[in-house]
Amino acid sequence: MTMTHDAPKAGSQVGRSVPRLEGRDKVTGRAEYTHTMRLPGMLTCKLFRSTVAHGRIKSIDTSEAKKVPGVFAVVTIDDVMKVIPDPYYGPAFHDQPILAHEKVRFVGEPVAAVLAMDPHVAEEAAQLIVAEYEELPAVYDEVDALTTKTYVHDVLKPAGTFADLKHLKDARDTNTALDYRLRKGDVDKAFAQAAHVFEHEFKTQKVLHLPFEPHASIADYKDTGVTVYTASQGPSFVRTEIARLLGWPENKVRIKVPYLGSGYGAKLYIKLEALVVALSMIARRPVKLALTFEELFYQITKHPSTFRIKSGIDKDGKIIARKCEVFWNGGAYADIGPRVTQKSGLTASGPYEIDNVWIDSYALYTNVTPAGALRGFGVPQLVWAYESHSDMIARALKLDPVEFRRKNLLREGRPHATNTIIKDAAVEKVMDHVLDRMNWSKPFDKSTGVVKRGRGFGISIKAVITPTTSVAIVNVSGDGSVTLYCGTIDMGQGSDTAMAQMVGEVLNVPTETVRVVPRDTDVTPYDMGTLGSRSLFHMGHAVQRAAADARDKLKALAREVGEPEGSNIPVRDLFVKKYGMQAGNVIGTGIFKPDYIPPAPGTGLSENVTAFWMVSGAGAEVEVDTETGHVKITKLVNVVDVGKAINPRIVETQISGAALMQLGFTMFEKMHIDGGQVTNASLADYKIPGFHDVPTVMDNSHVDTNQANGPFGAKGVGEVATFCVSPAIANAIDDAVGVRLTELPLNPESVYRAIRAKAGKPLEDE
């Protein structure tokens, strides 16, 4: 197909299941990832990590390590501060030192770095470092963290980026890194009037992303500028933060990101980059740090949470009041925890229309591995609680769980708890689709044998992180070929392909011919980050605008060279007419930032709190072995509202992958921690789903909707299918055997213990 400057027909690229553009490189093993990259003269770094959860560093003895032949340097924070005097970084708080400084705050915190050409030498030397600590009391539990006199940080240091953290500047004697609140109506009065009041507490465990390409960064420092190759979901932020640490303008910092061996939120904001830059400054050579699988357990995790939820129900089954107290276990450094606390916190009351809502959501420091965003920015923890709660209320009131929800669902045009009016959120349609795929209205055989059957479902809503900015550039070359420059990281979600489809749609060229430039902040423009299912919507808009800008400029060029209106000459000929040969470019640019009204201080209310709503539902059928507590998931239905699917096959893969990942978090994944130490830091002891964990029937679909303000009617999909898996399964277990689990994971022992407790014969503890 020859590209012409005037796109005659639309609809040929968007909505098509284009095979992934990078597929060939991935199936041949030639795709580039930071973890397997090498630079000439590169040193490898291995870390010496803290063995105490909370302590003052008395001494670090590196003498034996330095004696190992082949060791180039052993670096502690004192060395780092000679090149970066203020070595603290982080997106929400400048709380994390490049290496431990004065104190250590979790087991596994990097304390010293060994550099050598041979990784085995560095590893051996790191084992010879000895540190002495004055041990301090430690806090591990998120609820304890609110009231304890043990403080993880002496003084809080908000980064200044987020308005709602400013009041925490210089705060002392607290572990609270954000206290988000929403106040709507009068909950106390409504509870007093309610016919029934239900209060439950739910917990989630500590789990982690485990990207199969563990974190890796390489820095190549020169006095004229630094280049960082890194497995990052947010190169623009890394650039800003490195520039800040060095006191440099951003243009001297270059961040290059090849493909990512997945992220799920693990590689957001800044991780290893500040350390490798400091090490490269010290060594004056390229330095690489690539984590091992075990070290992932000391990098970033999901937030464990405690959620106390209380609902007042009137005599007709309408929820008239809801009070939510959510405690987020953020670990030793805030990372993006405060955003998780606020951005998910505001939807803690669920996809229901409730007149009186009270939400307190606390980000809390503790002495464990830091927590960040994991495929849902906290929303899976919330949905686990509020959709379990929904079923518990319905069961207690002997109401049909479908009708109870239907009576309370948020509908189009109605106000959410924040006061933002619901628009393009197909809550009821998604629920009905789940029920349809579950054959909910048909009789269900629960069985009477040792193995009992049950079914359950859940429904959820999420607001996208707002407001954020994306910029894109579309470049049409002299031969008419098209190149897209955008900062969205393709970490497996297929964004390169989807963005290219949008360019192809606007410029009427086949998607397969569009080149998407690998991420490099020297050439790809700003993007806030690949997170929170924001990219397809935000970057999609920017890309669409950039492509439209290029198209307009091509039309202007045609007029300029005297082409009559309606002429459709090939683009190459247009350039030849203008420049006398195959030469020149047409550059289109696009910027997108949605409208937004920040939540009002005190009440958390806002008429426009999100650029769009995400909606998903899930249904599960299970078989519970009553003799052992084993739960087999025989059917898992996942339904999401994605607006219009840009690439239906990729959408389906995303839904399926997200649901299966959450299945692991629901059924068995758990970081075991003893005295602050993770005791199962390996794939042998921390299990993730494999082939045999896939439910017998997986039924994934999206409802046919249109996101009116989205690019080509689309919105994000990466996280959304995780939300309802946990409560759907817990509700199904309750349906099967009449026990209610309120803490994840729902592993066989937990289920068995609950069955025994219900029978009045509780199993003894250890």
Partner: protein, 160 residues
């Protein structure tokens, strides 16, 4: 008695090669550092995920648990040895056509194991696929799509 580096010879993707290895080097690091082949990668480091899969003398092994020195005199195939400049291997085509991967980090392992699986079971059913590939994990959880890919690859293989 071998004390330090030693030169080993083997066939790598059909080409005779030599490498200087020490006893503590594993296959993955030697392939990456001496041959710039990065398709086999170390993820879990315990032989459980399959990202480091290579084929030695016709049998798949975990490259992260296999001492490089033991490659001496063997024939080694890595994922990079499957395609030609003209044509992808039918298993690779099938993985692309079914979109049976997301981030792609584990994909070379799945592709290599699938070639082995189809050698043994040319027309596998779901159970055979799951059983054979159970030692390969995908954190993006594209398992249902991989099953489709394996079946498509089986069909392609029969057709060719």
């Amino acid at each position: 008695m071998m004390t330090a580096a030693r030169t080993i010879s083997f066939k790598l993707n059909g080409m005779p090669v030599t490498a200087d290895v020490k006893p503590h080097h594993n296959v993955v690091e030697v392939l990456q550092s001496q041959f710039s082949l990065t398709g086999a990668r170390e993820t879990c480091g315990q032989g459980l995920c399959g990202c480091c899969t290579v084929v030695v003398n016709g049998r798949a092994v975990s490259g992260c648990l296999y001492l490089a020195t033991f490659l001496d005199g063997t024939e080694v195939t890595t994922v990079e040895g499957l395609d030609t400049p003209q044509k992808l291997h039918s298993v690779q085509e099938a993985f692309i056509e079914t979109s049976a991967f997301q981030c792609g980090y584990c994909t070379p392992g799945f592709v290599l194991m699938t070639t082995q699986l189809l050698d043994e079971h040319p027309d596998p059913d779901d159970e055979q696929i799951k059983h054979y590939l159970t030692g390969n994990l995908c954190r993006c959880a594209t398992y249902p799509q991989v099953i489709e890919a394996v079946k498509l690859a089986a069909k392609k293989r029969k057709g060719s």
